[in-house]
Symmetry: C2
Subunit: 430 residues, 2 copies
């Protein structure tokens, strides 16, 4: 930056310079062996533990600023780092080191009729950009997933965690350098504020993939402004449909698990649809159970009647409720006359994350699986299983709700691209 | 459209209405069996042949307008349809019908420790948008690839082929309807002109994937304006590196094949880099062969000297030449001192389509394969093999030069996304 430059130009130059340094760093990472990358991850874990006091001190500054700005206790808890949480972050880094390396995996291959040997292999993307909010442990999680998959990463964390993230990035960079990898494999543009994000989103040729992690507003901004390819993650308006053929002993447990086991996360259920044949007997008992678990009910006309039968309160459902990701103990309840009607409702309101069907009639489950266009369909199981860890994919980068490249839980493999190798002996095309 | 609406609003409404109709049509396509889809494709092939006279007549109007506007003979030839070409298009449709259906393919799956059965399956994207130029046969090619993979498609062809494309789309739609599939599975926004493309590019929630097929200007416009996910295709600035260890008997043949066998296509070579150990003897003979094949040489300083030794003309190479996709009989020639220097040159100038290395030293080919970041790397083979047909993928949608979702030749599988099925027996998450 020079004094003569206008602020906008110097901001753009500064952010692009960070991206360029990441791109240079991505080259040795691309050809780094698994042994080198894993040793670097172990060094990161050790360095985080060794820097516990420094990290906690920086986090205290963020927490104090948050308190003075009236941040809610819930958000302060997400922001807080203590020695136990830092140890958990370091343990998660060592778990990533233990995962298989996706780079070099042969996806498919064959020998062609002319003798050419064809191989499609996984290779790193190059440079990732990750924009996220609040929790500072994401800084480390994302950095180590990028490194393990052979990518450099440019980070942009939430301003509420600025001091914490600054120290975490310094610690990670120091560990990388000590392990013989370039420090610039992990960089941050936090110091350039919100305007810096705009530059990152359009850094074509320098950034290969952008992953926004956060609420709908953040994701919409990224999708609107980005010219770099994007993978959207995480908005979950998930549905459970209870068919007339459902095993009713299971159904209440599954709906309760889907709604109440962790209501703040994206794979929690937001709407339950019940077949009209179950409206008189089963639905009142389901609503009683939900109400007993502290869940506020937003019910359509027939479900309001079932609530009256059950003697539990229910509000009239609105279109906003059908569309909502409540992030808490609220649920929309509807009565439908068929699995077709359930699928139509889901097609209209779902965020295409996860939908569950509870049914014993295989014609119903087959139709539901074929007609629902979401990342995950659960049959006689809770929506809460949509998770990289539960799926056995190892660490999870996020849950993609888009159709391109990655859909559903994204593991390390989804942070790679592929390349084709064509191996010949002087072959020319006729 | 109403008279009261402003032109822009009515244009937007009209294009979005086309997209909405495509989305409605995509639902039955999503669950259509292979038998239904293949029967529809056979009906399309039959209908094209039956409509030969009508198609030729419409094409004559496009050709006449092109001639009156001074369109080059080369472009007029790309635009022209005669009975033989229409028969070839119909034959290609029947070939697509014979390909396996990508929908329903199980990509991976397992039974989890808790007994949940996990399956990842290929499913249609939904609605594709394809923007392309000049050749009217692309209209049919793209429509049938979309149908075979269970997708509806919204087409936007080049204005030069407007009459031809209008008739082709009508014929395809009629055949679909006769085969019991919705006509709106194939729609066109050609009548809405260039402004209609802008609406298509931002039709989020209606269009799932955009594929621009055409020159760099078209692709740049799409990437800049689109908020719908995009796969870039086709710009090819391909390189051949001849190492000191190359089998020199093969090397001239491979370079000539890469440059001259079809110089207008994207997998043709645009630059040859030769190791300095070969500059005195091999390079003059290579340049003689290229010149003899009618290739104009753009040479760096050491290659100019080799041309002088060979007694053939060579122009001094410019940065524009290194960056160029010549689309004709021209080539940039450089001398490098190592495979590392070759890889660095390629990293700077390549469009990341296809690069070839000619070498017998496995250390050189291994390094080249690991360090070059392009969709395809050919070892001792011509760049011209980068092609869906040559790779055995069947019909090709295009050649992706981006890293997300599809890289290199795109077959039918790349027009699908995946969904996860989680099959349980009342499973809840602990």
């Amino acid at each position: 930056m020079t004094l003569a430059a206008t602020p906008d130009t110097s901001l753009e130059d500064a952010v692009l310079d960070v991206c360029r340094r990441a791109k240079v760093a991505s080259r040795p990472l691309r050809v780094a062996t698994r042994a080198t990358k894993d040793a670097a991850l172990q060094a990161v874990a050790d360095a985080l533990e060794a820097a516990t006091d420094r990290i906690v001190a920086a986090n205290e500054i963020d927490l104090a600023r948050g308190r003075s700005e009236g941040t809610s206790e819930h958000l302060l808890d997400r922001l807080a780092l203590d020695p136990a949480r830092i140890a958990a972050v370091a343990a998660a880094v060592r778990e990533v080191a233990a995962l298989p390396d996706p780079v070099g995996e042969v996806v498919r291959g064959s020998t062609l009729p002319n003798g050419l040997r064809l191989r499609q292999l996984r290779v790193p993307m190059g440079v990732l950009g990750v924009v996220y909010e609040a929790r500072p442990n994401v800084t480390v999680d994302v950095a180590v997933l990028a490194l393990k998959s052979g990518n450099a990463v440019v980070l942009r964390g939430g301003s509420a965690a600025l001091e914490s993230n600054t120290v975490l990035v310094e610690v990670v960079r120091g560990a990388l350098e000590s392990a013989g990898l370039p420090a610039d494999a992990v960089t941050s543009i936090d110091e350039h504020g919100r305007d810096g994000v705009g530059v990152l989103l359009t850094a074509r040729g320098l950034v290969d993939l952008l992953v926004p992690r956060g609420g709908a507003d953040l994701i919409q901004r990224v999708v609107r402004e980005a010219t770099v390819p994007v993978i959207e993650t995480g908005v979950g308006n998930c549905h459970v449909y209870v068919d007339a053929s459902a095993d009713l002993r299971q159904a209440v447990d599954v709906v309760l698990n889907a709604k109440t086991s962790r209501p703040s996360v994206c794979n929690a259920a937001e709407t339950v649809l019940v077949h009209s044949a179950l409206a008189a007997d089963f639905l009142p008992s389901l609503l009683t159970a939900l109400h007993g678990a502290g869940v506020v009910l937003h019910a359509d006309e027939r479900a309001v009647e079932a609530a009256r039968v059950a003697g539990v309160p229910a509000q009239a459902v609105t279109d906003d409720d059908w569309a909502a990701e409540f992030h808490g103990l609220e649920i929309a309840v509807g009565v439908v006359d068929s699995v077709q009607d359930a699928v139509e409702h889901i097609g209209r309101w779902s965020s295409a994350h996860t939908e569950a069907v509870l049914a014993t009639d295989v014609r119903v489950t087959d139709f539901f699986c074929a007609a629902v266009d979401s990342a995950v369909v659960a049959v006689n199981a809770s929506t809460r299983f949509t998770d990289g860890g539960e799926f056995g994919l190892g660490a999870e980068v996020g849950i993609s709700t888009q159709k391109l490249h990655a859909r559903g839980p994204m593991g390390l493999g989804e942070l790679t691209t592929t390349t084709w190798q064509v191996l010949g002996d002087g072959h020319v095309r006729g």
